[in-house]
Symmetry: C2
Subunit: 759 residues, 2 copies
């Protein structure tokens, strides 16, 4: 049976039309969160703890309140009451709510340097900042701990007096920083290792890294006199922001409206609330709109980076290279409050492979740093760094081609993953084969201190509810409103999927992201799910428009609706060749032939396909300075169907660049008193264009059988393989296996020296 190619099947899907929101962004016209200005608006600033760990003995706001320029002050007690209602809550819920509240504004303890203590409103941001000094906080400074291993030690300073390890298999009750210990099992790990001829076990360490989005967090709130709250902010999930904010402030969801502002990057870090509830409280108190924005230092110190981690990985393999067992222990710091991205690490680290027996222990550990947050495939890069490093070592030990070893063990349709999901059609083998057959893989690599590495990675993807609304304008253009934040052009890919259904040009679909009052509930931009779920909603909204157009034509032609069909953008009578029309022809006459046409769709469909990725990377290591230079980088990724290949390439390249930064340079440098030492982008060194070669992006398309156009998510898996791929390339160049990140010049130099000394 001949299979239709994508080009034959689709007219708009797979093309690269100009992105509708691109002009405004390129020309500086797009309105981001901080671009809102309202009549009477005033400004808020946050007083933050100068200590990494301290008891707050008292907060005296009397001086500040007496100052005529202080318009309002917000403290923890201004957030929705939990203390008095404690009697009605279970201890667990109470604690969870206290964590949420205390993260916003500390009550009894400051748990990291930068922890918000109070917020203050004044007529200008500078004035507000200056007036913060009038708030007097009496601290009792405590010893602090800012890395996961120290935090787990029995004599570590304890953050939360009430904390017990919620997980299984653990005797600790109270007196711990380990918030949870969980175990994940597939098959029988003992049997797996028993079947192995060789077992490889290694230990890895990574540091906190930040997503590095350009736009600092912001929030502008207007609390109406009737308790109706409107918030302008940039959020990856403004419906999620609405619901969290409603809880924190004790409001009904329907009384809170979040206006979507353009998102200046998020990568997982813009789901959590920071300034929004503070601005809301200050607005309630002042009766005026209040705007708050963060400085870069506030972003680095007090928003959510990815966890630093301590990982042990152990893989059993037969002499022929068949992996029989995979085991890992993952300890992630979560920062001041529990909730590190351990599930993402555990569930994805072994998933490129078909392994029968897996066991993973995870430890969620609090320490005196800002609460961590999601960062692109949260947890998976950590896990892949460990697993893919060990796999590389196995290939070397067994004298196998590293891609052959991976292909031999590759996950496929029917493979059961650690989370119990049985793979539908996945593209692991196609991706791996694409690596092997790519010219880069076999290209000669000459010169001293140079090496090549490969690694793979998996991300399960996710979806959730999504909504779309499509109004046909009188010129035949369609105004498409979606409910998900736009990350990387997702509103444009929704427009393409809409246009495909109706056989219209992508540029005739004008997409926008609606506010929370104007479109149905939509889960945020997470799980690489936007193009999957919102594209699907756009697809269904287009089907809805199509049905109405067909019915309208039937009504105009006074014929039965079953007699009319929509084929290739033409609405035509099945048997009367005289009767045909198009959307553009009908559009000016809709109002007078029955009314406007608006399509809508609201869904929560499962089936977001998992995505496999791979990298080939060439490096050169300078033995004098320890500096690692990326010579060539090819990134492979199964996109399912690439709706807009430009955007998919952009995602692949962006993931690679973030991976390069994480691998080679980025880290939270913590001082002796628990303070972050490198809070500027000059000191927190992300890769610039000068540090990078052109990243070649190779799209593999193994359509997701669950999606009408075969879409898989593409946003996250690109960050999974680079850490290990670069480590493997460094090993290939130097013979050194790097067990920790970042592999910065100083670390590399030490390793080279140590290696030269025979260690």
């Amino acid at each position: 049976m001949a299979t239709e190619t994508k080009e034959q099947k689709y007219k708009v899907v797979g093309t690269r039309p100009i992105r509708q929101d691109g002009f405004d962004k390129v020309m500086g016209k797009a309105r981001f969160g901080a671009d809102i200005t309202l009549p009477g608006m005033v400004h808020g600033k946050v007083l933050r703890s100068p200590h990494a760990h301290a008891v707050i003995k008292s907060i005296d706001t009397s001086k500040a309140e007496a100052h005529p320029d202080v318009l309002a002050i917000a403290l923890s007690a201004d957030l929705a009451v939990v203390g008095e209602e404690m009697a009605e809550l279970g201890e667990e819920t109470y604690t969870a709510l206290k964590y949420v509240k205390d993260k916003m504004l500390a009550s009894d303890k400051a748990l990291f340097k930068g922890h918000p203590i109070a917020a203050l409103a004044a007529t200008s941001p500078h004035l507000a900042e200056e007036l913060l000094s009038l708030i007097e906080v009496d601290y009792e400074v405590l010893p602090s701990v800012t890395n996961v291993e120290d935090a787990m030690k029995p004599d570590a300073p304890l953050l939360h007096r009430q904390m017990t390890t919620g997980g299984i298999n653990d005797e600790q009750v109270g007196g711990t920083n380990i918030a949870a210990h969980n175990q994940f099992d597939l098959g029988d790990i003992e049997k797996g290792f028993a079947a192995a001829d060789r077992v490889f076990e290694r230990e890895f360490r990574t540091k906190s890294v930040h997503q590095g989005y350009i736009e600092p967090q912001n929030g502008t709130a207007s609390w109406g006199p009737d308790g109706h709250l409107t918030v302008w902010c940039s959020s990856q999930g403004h419906f999620g922001t609405r619901n969290s904010l409603a809880k924190l402030l004790g409001l009904h969801e329907s009384k809170v409206k979040i206006v979507y502002m353009e998102l200046g990057g998020g990568f997982g870090g813009k789901h959590a609330l920071y300034l929004e509830p503070l601005a809301a409280v200050l607005s309630r108190k002042t009766g005026l709109p209040v705007k708050m924005t963060m400085s870069r230092a506030e972003v680095m110190e007090a928003t959510g980076p990815a966890s630093g981690s301590h990982i042990k990985a152990k893989i059993g393999v037969t002499s022929e290279g068949k992996i029989t067992a995979g085991q890992a222990s993952l300890a992630f710091e979560s920062g001041a409050y529990p909730g590190a991205s351990l599930g993402g690490a555990a569930n994805n680290m072994f998933s490129p492979y078909d392994i029968e027996n897996i066991h993973v222990d995870t430890y969620d550990v609090v320490d005196n740093k800002t609460k961590t947050s999601a960062y692109r495939a949260p947890g998976a890069p950590h896990g892949a760094f460990a697993v893919e490093s060990v796999i590389d070592e196995i290939a070397e030990a067994l004298d196998m081609d590293p891609m052959d070893l991976r292909i031999m063990n590759g996950a496929h349709e029917g493979t059961r993953r650690l989370n119990g999901v049985v793979n539908p059609r996945v593209g692991m083998l196609e991706t791996a084969e694409a690596v092997k057959s790519h010219p880069h893989y076999s290209a000669p690599l000459e010169g001293k201190n140079r090496g090549r590495g490969v690694a793979m990675g998996f991300w399960g993807n996710g979806a959730g509810p999504a909504s779309a609304m499509a109004s046909v304008a009188s010129d035949g253009g369609v105004l498409l409103t979606v409910g998900t934040s736009d990350v990387g052009g997702t509103r444009a890919t929704a427009a393409q999927q809409f246009a495909e259904v109706l056989g219209m040009a992508a540029e005739d679909v004008l997409p926008q992201v609606g506010d929370t009052d104007s479109v149905g509930f939509s889960s945020g931009a997470g799980g690489s799910g936007v193009t999957f779920k919102t594209g699907w909603a756009a697809y269904e909204a287009a089907q809805d428009v199509k049905r109405q157009l067909v019915a309208r034509a039937a009504a105009i032609w006074e014929t039965d609706v079953d007699e009319v069909e929509y084929v290739d953008g033409v609405i035509r009578h099945r048997s009367d060749p005289e009767l045909h029309t198009t959307l553009k022809e009908l559009a000016p006459n809709l109002n007078t032939t029955g009314g406007p046409i608006v399509g809508r769709a609201n869904l929560n469909n499962p089936g977001a396909g998992g995505a496999h990725g791979a990298n080939i990377v060439d490096v050169e290591v300078d033995p004098e300075t320890g500096k690692v230079k990326i010579l060539r980088f090819t990134a492979f990724q199964d996109a399912g169907t690439a709706i807009n290949p430009d955007f998919v390439e952009g995602q692949i390249q962006g993931g690679a660049v973030q991976g390069i930064g994480w691998a080679l340079n980025e880290e939270y440098f913590m001082g002796a008193e628990g303070q972050m030492m490198n809070t500027s982008l000059l000191d927190y060194r992300m890769p610039t264009i000068l540090d990078l070669p052109m990243i070649e992006a190779v799209i593999i398309e193994v359509p997701n059988p669950a999606h009408p156009f075969g879409v898989r998510g593409v946003g996250e898996v690109g960050l999974v393989p680079p850490l290990a791929a670069i480590a493997n390339a460094i090993h290939n160049a130097t013979g050194i296996r790097m067990p920790e990140l970042p592999m910065s010049p100083s670390v590399m130099l030490a390793a080279i020296e140590s290696h030269g000394n025979g260690h």
Copy 2:
């Protein structure tokens, strides 16, 4: 058969819940057009003609362009080209387009004082205003004409060289200010007068009056680099604004987005464009957002008031009081360009009555004043002033009670109106009977110089397309987006109609007015149609939500959808009493049981029911000063079904107050050089609270059979009877029939003197 009362039938309809948008408006938090501020925004001001009539020989912008503070200048030629495309247009279309363009920015002639000549952008409104003086315009001043009778004279200054009278029965070709002469006929007017025993013929004159909305016109435009235009403005019909603006600027409708800002009054005057296209051109030229607002003087001189008029009315009646013929000649000034509200006058003036033979001539006359616009029941107050004055005279002549005469001739179901429409169920007789039986009608009126008058009035109402979108939030609140501007609480009445269907509380429905990209096409707030059409859209959207809730419950209960019903806010299984739930109970679980629920409706339903109104008014005329004092005012109106009686009363009272102003004080005072002399609200004297008694509003409810809840429009007819009712009261007090408006102290004094002299 016992009829269900409204109270028995409805739970929310007919109640007076707190208006959702009320808090913000009362507290000064609502954002009107001028409240928008955008990053990089600059300001525009308009250079206006100082002459009422002048040839524009040249506009020299060179000095202005050379000035470093001038950011951009807009001239007529910057609007969408019509000149070059003239060849392709018919002469008529070309002329119509030229009128539209020239009204925005004059090209060859200035036709009224205040006519926009150019617009200029600078960093502040004050700077822009100052810099306007650098634009040099060479005028050749012409004689001007500023009232309808002078403009119709053969030797009148001619505004448009190309103008011919488009109407029938007229030999004038070119060389006229009469743009159209139209005739309306019902029955046989000659036969009608032949059947009459007596014929009454009188002549009436009215002056230009302004709607007097509080909020001046405004428009802020941001022209994107891709030609995508966003405009923030207050408009009675933002979809209409979108479409007109697109035409004027040569853009596709779908590329223009109008963001609805709260409307600070309109009354018909906020449909037309003024500043929006100028701001758009300046934004295109500067690449920046441009804001423009009018001063009060600009509003008065250069927006659209109601026409001044010259009316002849002639009514034939039998000795018993049966009206056999109604005839009128209406000459309305339209201002500088054609298009006075003559249809509204002609079609409604005789419509309170069942008259077989009617003939109306209308003359649309240009003069050197700002182009007129719609004003609440446009044209109908003029017509009713004439007809209801003559009817009063007839009653007096026949020695009949004026209400008995009206009831004898009252329109009813089956009456054919002048426009050919056969009345469905209307409330004329119920309204007239309510007048007769009201205590005010029979209350003694003692004291000198006091009198009582009555009058009736009709307005046909209208509707058009309307859209609504309703999203169920997780707390069970519903976010309702409508597409029509809110006038007088219409979003709240849509919410009430929505709530009624679902058996929920009105306060749980949170209504907003969507922008033109976020909701389906909706015609504007006109024709008293919003509560009718948008309420109906809300009703249908609620039915859509109801269907989905029933289907969702059926899916959860794994039962057939036909087994589930929605009764009184409860979703229940028809046969299993255990299975029941509510919207509030289902709401938190929608996302996980199939996805969000969003209802929508888009319709264009006919059947807006015509509305009858009536007034009883008591006055006292001061014979020394000529001042007329309103002692008591009772206003009656058939609302069909009053969705929210508070709002209906507000509309009735507002119409009465505007009518009192029009009757007694308001007028455009024109100077010898064609300039308006009273452009401030101090000089253009609208009634204040000190001039008014409490207006008693009496709602009559004769449900409109075409609407699901029986709604008729209520916004306009309230302004129709007052002019004549007050004139009739003055006659009753003084014996003088006033043939002209306003009946201001000076005019009254002259009439009293003249009357005393036996004239």
